[in-house]
């Protein structure tokens, strides 16, 4: 009927008008049960294709008035087919039904929305805000430690770095709002410099990820994403208060979000202030020394941080752009009885106050300005991500003479200022029914300057440029093949450095002269490396299977190439090797997931081979009475994986168990047959959660507990010591009550970590090297009020 009338109208006009009679279509796709918009659903009408945007909308422009076959496919949903007539007169919302037989990928958060990651052949998992809330620790990485395959290297109570399957530092990439987070990742003695309260959701990829992220993404990626958009013309906010008994922490974080029609803004401010943390011992035995602790306080481990972030964005049908400014400022002390590994005595009265930050300490400021823009075209989505980061870190310690170095005049031992400029351009092509193609270019420029009296890494400039192509090919609705190729080119220019004091140099004629020794020289190095990935993903009714083979790489760091000096913190002499090649890593990742009624099991094995792992080798030689450590490359073979099981006998009760294991072995070089530093031991976590019905004026109450059992780690490299196994019990309860508002309940959580106040050692803690145990019992209370 309609069609005919259009024909008639067309006949009334001329022939050219007929061809100009084109229409636009805008339709929203939502979940049938929850009515929430579905992002990234694949749409086709006849031979035109598109995907839904962040609002769940899709558009077709310039289409002729006629009858079309509309198909909507979305992972985790039943395929939807219908015929529509253009122009469209009916309601422009289509609700599609979830396919309940498809498994929930996310075990930890229990989220049902994100099924997109099932199609990926790499093992990915989505971590949502409720998981972060329930498991909140002092820092983001400590919060994520409960996830199988993820651990952290910590120093003190407030700082830790991500580790995925035993690899950390520059072998894990952290991405925030599309831009690679660039701090001094190589160093052991500080944390991530990200406000964990500002994280709404993140995605963890375990496995070779250089294809999309370039250098460094060997072990995996932690991608922190900006949260979901608010509905039009709405406002929301929250205030979060935290208190912890072990380190007398108090924290406050407040955030607001506002959206108008197209414009929106977000802002957050976070402050945490904590004292020295307590360990369940009053004496620490390190080598032949005994440190007596005052009231179990690990002296001078107090700290504080002030974080602010704000963003402003614009969203319309075809264009979205957000500019985000974040600043993280932190200061924290280091355990005072040892400066790194060197035992120290001091005239400072550390025990007078458990909240002051004396020497040694570090302070850091990380500023980021990022813009993300997205243009949705009929067959393409163009993404542009631009970022500037300034990381300023200083380490202060009591000036002490060493060797030929006289007493320095200030406390500033090291200063690093790193500026990073990044740009990513990506084109997601969805013009084809069976192919999802992505093309992209990434470029990053770093400029690192140094200061202070201690020399560790030279000043350098580094440029990396890479391009990639990726395709996901849908063979059937349940069988996907994906693959891609990438090439990166990089340059590292190191600058010369001379010591600020004289040392005696023996000349060839036997005479001795006093000279300022050169610690690094000017070099211009170039690197080129390719990355590749190929994988399959097969989804069945009650099970899914993934297999991926990937090649990743890492360009050597300036410290690895050109270090030449005493690391006072580690009390050793470190020497770089200028002829290091980019690290090449080959990895096979698998995933097997099966559900039988209310029982779900997932296995994620991996096998990894490094052609030339860069390793700081402790040599059997001295340099000016300090042990000489030299960067070398060796073949490394690793395997391991994670096994998780989830049993949900009733909606109110769930039990889960997970196991993680990594084996690493050097196949060549001086440390042949040895493992790698900070190898995580075999570890299991058993968790239980029980939801209680409403009681008195408390609603949605749940109690949860987890028990971590870790095996002894005997697989060590110098200077590590074997670490005994342990079990650690945590307990918590969360509830909510409508105290201030009927719409937004007050959420209260109380948890107890290390319930039994056990003295345990974590093999991947920096302080483990000086025999410092993990924190004792800690009671934390957090309160969250949204408005």
């Amino acid at each position: 009927m309609i069609q005919r009338s259009i024909h008639i109208i067309c006949l009334l006009f001329c022939l050219t008008a007929y061809s100009q009679d084109l229409y636009s279509v805008k339709i929203k796709v939502v979940d049938k049960d929850t009515n929430t918009p579905l992002v990234g659903a694949h749409i086709s009408i006849n031979n035109k294709h598109t995907v839904t945007n962040t609002e769940g909308d899709f558009y077709f422009k310039n289409i002729l008035a006629q009858e079309y076959t509309l198909s909507i496919t979305h992972i985790g949903y039943k395929p939807y087919h219908t015929t529509i007539e253009i122009p469209l007169f009916a309601a422009n919302i289509i609700a599609i039904e979830a396919n309940q037989s498809v498994l929930e990928e996310v075990i930890v958060s229990g989220d049902t929305n994100q099924k997109r990651i099932q199609k990926s052949s790499l093992s990915k998992l989505e971590v949502k805000k409720d998981f972060l809330e329930q498991n909140r620790e002092n820092s983001l990485m400590q919060t994520l430690k409960k996830i199988p395959g993820v651990s952290s290297i910590s120093i003190g109570s407030g700082q830790s770095k991500p580790v995925i399957r035993g690899l950390g530092f520059n072998r894990v990439v952290v991405v925030e709002n599309g831009i690679k987070h660039e701090a001094q990742q190589w160093a052991t003695d500080h944390g991530l410099e990200i406000d964990q309260y500002n994280v709404e959701e993140l995605e963890i990829t375990k496995g070779a990820s250089s294809l999309l992220y370039g250098s460094d993404a060997i072990a995996g990626v932690i991608a922190i994403k900006s949260g979901k958009l608010l509905a039009k013309n709405s406002f929301s906010g929250e205030v979060h208060l935290t208190g912890r008994s072990n380190n007398d922490l108090f924290g406050v974080s407040a955030g607001i979000k506002k959206r108008y029609d197209n414009w929106y803004y977000k802002a957050r401010i976070t402050h945490q202030n904590y004292g020295d943390y307590k360990v369940p011992t009053d004496q620490i035995y390190y080598e032949n020394y005994v440190f007596n602790l005052h009231k179990n306080y690990l002296r001078n481990t107090a700290g504080q941080n002030y974080d602010i972030s704000s963003s402003i964005g614009y969203v319309s049908d075809h264009f979205q752009s957000e500019t985000i400014i974040t600043n993280v400022n932190a200061k924290s002390g280091f355990f005072a009885n040892a400066h790194g590994l060197e035992v120290r005595t001091s005239q400072i009265d550390y025990d007078a106050n458990n909240r002051d930050i004396d020497l040694p300490h570090h302070k850091v400021n990380h500023l980021k300005i990022i813009n993300n823009s997205k243009i949705t075209l009929p067959d393409h989505t163009l993404i542009l991500e631009v970022g500037y980061q300034n990381n300023h870190r200083e380490e202060h310690s009591e000036p002490v003479p060493h060797g030929y170095m006289p007493t320095p005049s200030s406390t500033k031992e090291r200063r690093f200022i790193k500026n990073t400029y990044s740009i990513n351009v990506k084109d997601h092509i969805h013009a084809f029914d069976t192919h999802k193609i992505a093309l992209g270019i990434n470029a990053e420029y770093q400029n690192n300057t140094i200061g202070g009296w201690g020399f560790l890494i030279p000043e350098y400039n580094r440029l990396t440029i890479g391009a990639f192509a990726y395709d996901q090919y849908k063979i059937t609705d349940s069988f996907y093949l994906e693959g891609g190729l990438r090439y990166d080119y990089g340059t590292v220019h190191t600058k010369p450095y001379y010591e600020w004091f004289d040392s005696p140099i023996t000349n060839s004629d036997g005479t001795i002269t006093q000279e300022r020794r050169q610690r690094s020289s000017k070099t211009n190095l170039e690197f080129g490396s390719y990355s590749a990935s190929v994988g399959i993903s097969y989804l069945k009714k009650n099970s899914s299977y993934k297999l991926n083979l990937g090649k990743s790489f890492r360009i050597p760091l300036a410290s690895e190439l050109a270090s030449d000096g005493v690391n006072y913190h580690m009390y050793r002499y470190e020497e770089g090797s200028i002829d290091l090649k980019p690290e090449n890593s080959y990895q096979i990742d698998g995933e097997l997931n099966a559900t039988i009624n209310n029982f779900e099991i997932q296995l994620n094995p991996f096998v990894n081979y490094f052609e030339n792992y860069i390793y700081l080798n402790p040599t059997p030689a001295y340099y000016e009475t300090l042990q000489r450590y030299q960067y070398t490359q060796s073949e490394v073979f690793r395997y391991g994986g994670e096994l998780t099981a989830l049993y949900t006998p009733s909606p109110a009760f769930s039990l889960s168990a997970s196991l993680e294991y990594v084996y690493s072995k050097q196949l060549s070089g001086d440390k042949k047959n040895f493992t790698l530093p900070f190898s995580p031991p075999l570890s299991t976590i058993f968790s239980a959660k029980y939801n209680i019905n409403s009681w008195w004026f408390f609603k949605k109450t749940s109690v949860f507990s987890d028990l971590r059992i870790t095996a002894k780690q005997n697989d060590i490299v110098p200077p590590e010591r074997p670490t005994d196994g342990f079990s650690l019990l945590n307990f918590g309860v969360q509830t909510e009550t409508h105290l201030f508002s009927q719409k937004h309940p007050l959420q209260i959580q109380c948890s107890v970590n290390n319930v039994l106040d056990k003295k345990i050692f974590d093999h991947t803690s920096f302080y483990r090297l000086i025999q410092v145990p993990e924190p004792g019992r800690n009671v934390s209370i957090s309160i969250l009020q949204k408005f």
Binding site: N288, R344, T625, Y639, N673, P718
Partner: protein, 146 residues
């Protein structure tokens, strides 16, 4: 299954050395002992015993002042320290020596003459040893130079 097979293929009997060497001055001829007073201009022989389960590789002797009381002895002794003072011309002795012949036992016997014209006061004598694998042991002894 696949994982199990890889395990069995890659596990071999090549054991790694995970033991540190030992180092001691606690025997009759061991020198210097805690709180020993050395005289400027005099020669001394440092005697320290080192041992390792595989083989020793090198040792180092580092004598530096402790006028600022920056660290302390690990021999369990509490020596009386002079008041904190600013160094003018402190003694610096830093020497490394290889231990040849892949021996498991070695007695460090090192002659040293305390120079004239250096600052008198509290010093540390730190002796370190590394085995062929790269494991290090150290000992630090409080001494005085007069």
């Amino acid at each position: 299954m696949i994982l199990g097979n890889i395990c069995s293929c890659s596990s071999d009997d090549e054991e790694t050395d995970t033991e540190k060497p030992t180092i001691t001055v606690n025997y009759a001829e061991g020198f210097p002992k805690s709180c020993t007073v050395l005289q400027k201009g005099n020669p001394y022989i440092i005697k320290v015993k080192a041992a390792d389960n595989v083989a020793l590789a090198s040792y180092a002797i580092d004598i530096h002042h402790n006028f600022d009381h920056h660290t302390h002895d690990d021999q369990g002794a509490q020596c009386t320290l002079d008041p904190i003072k600013t160094p003018k011309s402190p003694m610096i002795f830093m020497e490394n020596y290889p231990i040849k012949g892949e021996v498991k036992q070695y007695e460090i016997t090192q002659s040293i003459t305390i120079p004239e014209g250096i600052d008198a006061g509290d010093y540390h004598c730190q002796i370190s040893v590394i085995d062929v694998t790269g494991w290090q042991s150290r000992t630090s002894i409080d001494i005085k130079i007069q």
